[in-house]
Subunit: 251 residues, 2 copies
């Protein structure tokens, strides 16, 4: 079973998305999440399979991807500790993409059916989970823009900015400095570029003095310039808690 800290983390995260009362919180605590360790590159969800489990990422990174008929991979999102890994497929007949561990991960797992029942029995909890999936969607949309309409240097700058803020939100980065959890090949798969070109762009960003790199550690030296170059606006991340949901409930 998930230790109390893991449990409370879930409760706290969901409570950010809309007020939950004690019965809601107890229902989450009673779910019986089971902890598992997932090895790097192991699949958590496989395209074409019906969704059976739903997991919360406690530590490590995971990513969502598809492979084209030509064998090229496109990563559609990267998940950080504290995020649900597969609320996206939970109500669909089959998963339409893969979810794979990027690094070694600790996850808390429950059956997908349990989550579906929880959402129906506790509407406020269901709404909080729904909002989690809507924020995933907002990030998907921004990635469509990134990959569709920005040039290589902007795409990578944008990704570096997004990671900085999301990692800071997860408590894994400070002062625009973090450990990049991906290889350059994986960055290429996020941005629709080739690994060779990603390397050249990263070097160029270093040469321009916008970032510094030391192995996988990235420091964004000139945040404002990088943000401008990457056409990065935080709006789509919906980092501030409390949207209209909270307003409505405060009436």
């Amino acid at each position: 079973m998930t230790p109390p800290e893991g449990m409370e983390r879930i409760v706290r995260r969901l409570a950010l998305r809309g007020p939950l009362d004690e019965a809601d919180k107890d229902a989450i605590r009673a779910l019986g999440f089971v902890n598992r360790t997932i090895e790097p590159a192991a699949y958590l969800v496989r395209e074409g399979e019906p969704p059976t489990i739903c997991t919360l990422l406690l530590s490590g990174f995971a990513y969502r991807h598809k492979v084209t008929g030509e064998g090229e991979r496109q990563i559609m999102s990267v998940h950080m500790p504290g995020e649900f890994l597969d609320l996206q497929n939970i109500f669909l007949e089959v998963a339409d993409h893969n979810v794979q561990a990027l690094t070694r991960c600790e996850v808390a797992a429950v059956s997908a059916a349990t989550i579906r029942e929880l959402a129906e029995a506790y509407p406020r909890v269901g709404r909080a989970m729904w909002i989690e999936t809507l924020i995933d969607s907002a990030i998907f949309r921004e990635w469509i823009v990134n990959v569709g309409r920005r040039d290589s240097i902007s795409r990578i700058s944008h990704l570096l900015c997004e990671f900085a803020l999301r990692l800071e939100a997860a408590g894994l980065a400070r002062d625009h400095r973090y450990e990049m959890p991906m290889t350059q090949e994986q960055i290429a798969d996020c941005t629709g570029l080739t690994p060779v070109h990603v390397n050249r762009v990263l070097k160029e960003l270093g040469r321009m003095g916008l970032i510094e790199r030391e192995k996988r550690a990235v420091t964004i030296v000139q945040w404002d310039r990088l943000r401008h170059l990457g056409d990065f606006n935080t709006r789509y991340l919906h980092l501030e808690e409390g949207g209209p949901t909270n307003i409505a409930s405060a009436r």
Copy 2:
């Protein structure tokens, strides 16, 4: 008020996503949707504004887009009659993108707050709406792949296949023949290409005998070859009703 046909269309569409009982259906019918006509190019949602209304598209087409700092537009999705237009923003503090009418549209509108209350009071209705947003997400993900990892001819072939099936599902096309609701410039904004290149690719698809065009009318002459060229697999559209939701409820 929305005439009974519009109302029943909503009820039927949501009931496809998970069983609804009579109380659920009556709650939807009681919402008091108001019909409106929206002129082509009018905004239904504007980036940065808090979501206030939620609309169901009764006729016509609408699209979701963002504009980059460089002024380039990226379309993230196109909506067809029968689809909800802005469940995506309804629980978020501000809209992170625009929704605009592509053609003249008839919509049924209610306040966003009403929808939020409905979802909380009637969990099965909430779940059905949640599933609608999850299917939108599945399409967003496929578009990331399309724009990130397919070449121009595959991207456009993929888009043509997607439209054929979605329009057929909406009852607006038959035999892989339909009226394309977009200009070539808008197709370019969906696929991350330039209008000039879109034109050349469409001509090429014609020359290859895969499609025929007559003004905006498109006929897919060789479905299997176009589908193969576009690396198109219907899975992500989740067109078959009844996923695990229905299985669970059938227990």
